[in-house]
Amino acid sequence: MSEQIKVDVTIVGGGIAGCAAAVALREAGMTVALLDKGLCGAGASGVNFGGVRQQGRDVAELPLARRARPLWERLNDRLGEDVEFHASGHLKIARSDTEMAELERYAAVAAEFGLHLQLLGTNALRAELPWLGEGVVGGSLCAEDGHANPRLVGPAFARLARRLGADLREHTEATSAAPTGTGFETRSAELAIDSRFLVNCAGVGAGRVAAWFGEDVPLTPQVPNMIVTEPLPFFITRSIGVCGGGVYLRQIARGNAILGGGAGWGDATATRSRPLTEVSLAAMTKSLAIVPGLAGAHVIRTWAGIDGQMPDHIPVIGWSSTTPNLVHAFGFSGHGFQLGPVVGEIIAELIVQGRSASPLAPFAIERFTTASPVARPISVAIEE
């Protein structure tokens, strides 16, 4: 016999966005139930590179990323634990004049959104970062970008949500959800939840949930391939990316260097993933070119995970196109970490106030689900 509960909002998916939404909704006085098929924060939220980054995003995301940035500053106090956010600065490297021109163009666009990027030539870079390898012609530095520990953030949001009275159910996969006359019924193996609102932030599983409501979206699995070294003396003072994406690396205060780039292996059901040797070796080679000082290091672990990606590499955020009171927030395409806390706030805004303070038009699900999808302007350089 199923357990039956009734709440204002059901959230499917306990990543950072879902748990942050649960927190914001509880603070607004709504009752909340959240389901996750495993442990909260163990999906894409927990296995990513950990970049807390505004630079390099599609312009559509910049307002959200700008809004998210001050949340990271206050996150430890909010969550009641240290999630190891460090504003190391994010340096995007150019290895050719063409790439440098691209960085210059993006810097001009970013400035319109209030994101200040500092363009640096070879000499300035080498003076500050003598450990950079050959072939770097310049870079773009976002001094206020940085990184945090992805394994800590999601679980900390989940615990805060629980403390605030959200009903979080882990190891509880949503098996169905459907509109009722007055809202939604969401089911798992042993639970039936009756709610007024439904939030779909189910990561790579969100496409399945959207399909329950007649919204077929081209969400595909994306498997980040990650590498970590043994602890080394600290010397990589900035979080590093390259123009065009392909490899990214950072070093934490404890000394481990984290490298990423390329895609690992995921199975057809998007439940299992593994790092791929050729991909790991390629990322290691690229990292050595950028930071030759890593040459004496050993790799001690590689891992992969599964994120959800959209063809235009920006997420779906906003109301369902078919069903009232259903909010979608998925498809973060490998760069949802920095946005997670603000997406939670936005989900709550939509439900509590009926609208968001942030511009969500580019993220509308209609761009995939309507018969003549709205054409989007060509986006600015995206990466990772």
Binding site: L39, P155, L288
Partner: protein
């Protein structure tokens, strides 16, 4: 090696990857080639067996493709990733036998990270492979048959053994005598070591509770409580301490083999039929790398597993040999069952771990941090505990701390050990140099 030998005899040409420079694994570990001499008299009773095992490959000649100094660091599908002297290489396979052996089963205790504390296995390897002792005044602590053996070997070599402490009760051994007689010669050897130890004045103290190593920069003394609760202190300059063995099953994990929890051993191990088959059709498991059985069992299993593999390939096998091996293995299993019960896992030592003690040697994570995560941060599963506390994130990837971490999480969260789970592995199974990518 017995598996390779059996396959070679059947006309196959197996490739034998060995991380070490010379065959023998750890139990029959040989000194480096550069040392210029072969197995010493330190092997004692086992010298004949050691020599026989060392000769296997020599006798097989080019019927076995032996690849020493080759680390298999990953397995994906039917492909192995190798680290050799020349860098990265791969090897695909139709069938794979994993005989990856075991390492000491370790538990934290106060002072265990001081220079001069080694595992019992480490103390033995120093003797066998290098002809050195880990100290001049050595104390040993154990919970298995390795304790009387290493004590005997050190004492025989003239080292002053100031204490030999068994964390398991004497009564457990008495209760298992009948079962232990299933392997009478092994049992007799055990008695012999015990007797010789006593004659030398290094009688093993049973039922030891709580231990603590004292010292500033290195081991200076060992303090323990005996079965009656009395505290003892002995000055020493080295300690060899470990509590049984655990299978090195990382490659079986990467192969996707199903693991099962053995409640009586409080350990997870890959599922293995008596013939050596795993849950993955192409992958076979032999020796301590699947379940601790000891050297004799490993030789029998190696041969038996090869025969199972040959059968699966559609080859005829000597049914008489199969039957003999199965009978010997069954007898050994009865012995092993009794031995495991004679040396039950010393859970009381887990209770004795103070909050300030380091559990994860690589990362310096304390028991207090782990307990707090289990109690207050909902880390009731060991991989979540790892994510939140960093336990198991160091170079050894949980080999040394994993079992103790699970015990502490179980204790602090009030969950059954089985529900706490086991640390999931990812490649590489051991550290690989980043420059291998560029070679």
């Amino acid at each position: 090696m017995r598996a390779a030998e059996a396959l070679a005899r059947a006309g196959l040409k197996p490739i034998l990857f060995d991380e070490a420079e010379r065959p023998g694994g750890q139990i029959y570990r040989q000194p480096p080639t550069a040392a210029g001499h072969t197995a010493s008299t330190i092997y004692g009773f086992e010298a004949r067996k050691a020599e026989a095992v060392h000769r296997v490959l020599h006798d097989c000649g080019d019927r076995v493709d032996y690849r020493p100094k080759t680390l298999v660091w990953n397995l994906f599908g039917r492909r192995l990733d190798l680290l050799t002297g020349d860098g990265h290489a791969t090897q695909s396979f139709d069938r794979l036998i994993l005989a990856t052996g075991a390492m000491d089963r370790t538990l934290p205790f106060a002072g265990w990270t001081l220079p001069g504390v080694f595992t019992l296995g480490g103390a033995q390897i120093a003797l066998k492979a290098q002809g050195v002792a880990i100290g001049r005044r050595v104390a040993f602590v154990g919970a298995g048959p390795l304790l009387p053996l290493v004590t005997h070997q050190y004492a025989k070599a003239g080292v002053e053994v100031v204490a030999a402490l068994d964390a398991t009760p004497f009564s457990a051994k008495v209760a298992q005598v009948r079962g232990l007689l299933a392997a009478p010669s092994t049992f007799a050897k055990g008695l012999w070591y015990t007797a010789r130890n006593r004659v030398r004045g290094v009688g093993i103290r049973n039922g030891v509770r709580a231990l603590r190593v004292e010292g500033g920069e290195r081991v200076e003394a060992l303090v323990w409580r005996d079965a009656s609760g009395t505290e003892h202190r002995v000055e020493c300059d080295a300690v060899g301490a470990s509590f049984g063995l655990r299978a090195e099953a990382q490659l079986a994990d990467l192969a996707g083999c199903r693991f099962a929890f053995a409640a009586e051993l409080r350990q997870w191990m890959p599922e293995r039929t008596p013939e050596g088959r795993s849950s993955i059709p192409e992958v076979y498991l032999a020796g301590d790398g699947a379940r601790i059985g000891g050297a004799d069992v490993a030789e029998l299993q190696g041969a038996r597993t090869a025969l199972a593999l040959l059968e699966d390939l559609g080859r005829g096998v000597d049914r008489g040999a199969v039957a003999r091996l199965d009978r010997a293995l069954a007898r050994q299993a009865r012995f092993r069952h009794a031995l495991d019960a004679a040396y039950p896992f010393p859970r009381h030592l887990v209770d004795a771990i103070g909050d300030a003690e380091i559990v994860c040697r690589c990362e310096g994570i304390t028991a207090g941090t782990l307990r707090q995560a289990a109690r207050d941060r909902e880390a009731g599963e060991v991989n979540r505990a790892k994510a939140l506390t960093r336990v198991g994130m160091g170079r050894c990837q949980g080999r040394v701390c994993g079992e103790a971490a699970a015990e502490l999480v179980a204790q602090a969260s009030g969950r059954e050990l089985e529900r706490v789970g086991r640390l999931r592995g990812q490649p590489p199974v051991k550290p690989i140099p980043i420059v291998v990518a560029a070679q």
